[in-house]
Amino acid sequence: GAGVSQSPSNKVTEKGKDVELRCDPISGHTALYWYRQRLGQGLEFLIYFQGNSAPDKSGLPSDRFSAERTGESVSTLTIQRTQQEDSAVYLCASSGSGLAPYNEQFFGPGTRLTVL
């Protein structure tokens, strides 16, 4: 079946603008994650959604970052007043359930954000 999809694949914006990044998880997956990957680095956790539970926002780096998820489907990550340090690849992942015996996450292709 279809994997995790993300849009846009690339986004170039000017410093101070707001951006929205979209993630479509694998159908039926209840858990959804956002990660950030800076150039040459590993992934940093941003936020986690599980069903209708309150999201875990502990990884969001500042109040300029927010995310929403509609039920168990699409999620959007919004970055307000973008800064150059926000330039990174933003990866979305989904998994079957946070309550499963294990939590293999399936990743989307990512959105490469460049802030000029």
Binding site: G42, D56, A93, G98, F107, G108
Partner: protein, 115 residues
């Protein structure tokens, strides 16, 4: 705070040689994942290790987990050029009280296999 350290971060090896990538982590967990990332691509799941002593093999790659030592290894046997990629280990932070099922990633090992 859970820390995950991989070494080496860069590895250049000749085809046909063997090598091991190490992944150390700082807190109790028995869920460890290995991913592969090709340049400009997303992450591809390689192995899921769920218990002490777990060993999994796929082709020229073999992963193992020692939860007592808090160590996982990814062993490459008779490397071929197609294995060139960046390899990440990731640990499930749940057992460290993080409260969610986020994965904490190492910085990755960039592997270059030279023909």
């Amino acid at each position: 705070e859970l820390k995950v350290e991989q070494n080496p971060l860069f590895l250049s090896m000749q085809e046909g040689k063997n090598y091991t990538i190490y992944c150390n982590y700082s807190t109790t967990s028995d869920r460890l994942y290995w991913y592969r990332q090709d340049p400009g691509k997303s992450l591809e799941s390689l192995f899921v290790l769920l218990s002490n002593g777990a060993v999994k093999q796929e082709g020229r790659l073999m992963a193992s987990l020692d939860t007592k030592a808090r160590l996982s290894t990814l062993h490459i046997t008779a490397a071929v050029h197609d294995l060139s990629a960046t390899y990440f280990c990731a640990v499930d932070a749940t057992y460290s009280g993080a409260g969610s099922y986020q994965l904490t990633f190492g910085k990755g090992t960039k592997l270059s296999v030279i023909p």
